[in-house]
Symmetry: C2
Subunit: 147 residues, 2 copies
Amino acid sequence: MSDPDTLTEALDRAGYHSTAARRVMAELVAAQEGRFKAEDLLVQARRTRRGVGRATIFRSLEIFESLGLVEQVHLPNGEHAFVACERAHHHHVVCTQCGRSQEVGDLGITPIARELVEQRTGYLVDSHRIEFFGLCPECRAATTPQA
Amino acid sequence: MSDPDTLTEALDRAGYHSTAARRVMAELVAAQEGRFKAEDLLVQARRTRRGVGRATIFRSLEIFESLGLVEQVHLPNGEHAFVACERAHHHHVVCTQCGRSQEVGDLGITPIARELVEQRTGYLVDSHRIEFFGLCPECRAATTPQA
DNA sequence: GGCGCGACGATACTCGGTCTCTGTTTAACC
DNA sequence: GGTTAAACAGAGACCGAGTATCGTCGCGCC
Ligand SMILES: [Zn+2]
Ligand SMILES: [Zn+2]
Ligand SMILES: [Zn+2]
Ligand SMILES: [Zn+2]
């Protein structure tokens, strides 16, 4: 992600007021590389221009999430973080080392899984969550010098 | 899940002391139907025999999890719950209505996904989390009488 | 320019989870 | 069976993420 305007436009299109706080949020989110915690934004906001209130951080993230611009990920250690999204159904790989993250298309898993799960368990699946964790190319290279 | 002994035996096998609190925990966990929150156990423990301390609840669950006897699930609403497990790599479907849950085998997703993700993103995947949410057969029947 | 609703932010609060510390239990060894 | 070191339980303090409240302010609209 890297374009604040995409975010603000989406907000506008969805009928949300354009406010200073939200513009800052859009900028911050767009500037993140990989996963980030709400707390990170709070700190960053406080550091630069006039800070954004804690409540607003969460409210904005909630809106962004409802618009599919951001997604919550549940890290292996139980913490919660967010990642910026580029629309369409997808999932994320998150680097356990540096936190960078990337989207992965649906991989065609959804329909298969849904069907299989349904026929094996009788459950009518209506949503799912898939998260991959591992090492990003950079960290991978860093930990395995050349061997 | 329904056998407390399986749990206590596993603890024993792993070299953990057999204590009163852990036996109670084994019984409680075995008695749960579907997903349950730590808080639930706390309340239930308090209600029946001599309660188990809050810290102990979490410590035990942590051990159970490390032994693959229990797994943490991140519900769609952000809450955390646990489900009892029957070993081997698998995932869960959780009923969004009544909370019942069931294991689903790997579905063959793991190797495919791993490979696809790796070749598309360059990430070296070493763990993943897949959760399905929907309606269990009972709730399904209940909400769609016969139509 | 004025109005009303929506959003902001400070603060207080809740709640899930952890830490710390002390007294107790356990298992192993004699 | 008695002794002892290490593991454990539990009470309570503590912490941090997230939420609720509420007075103020800004946006969009007329
Ligand atoms: Zn979570
Ligand atoms: Zn990385
Ligand atoms: Zn399981
Ligand atoms: Zn159900």
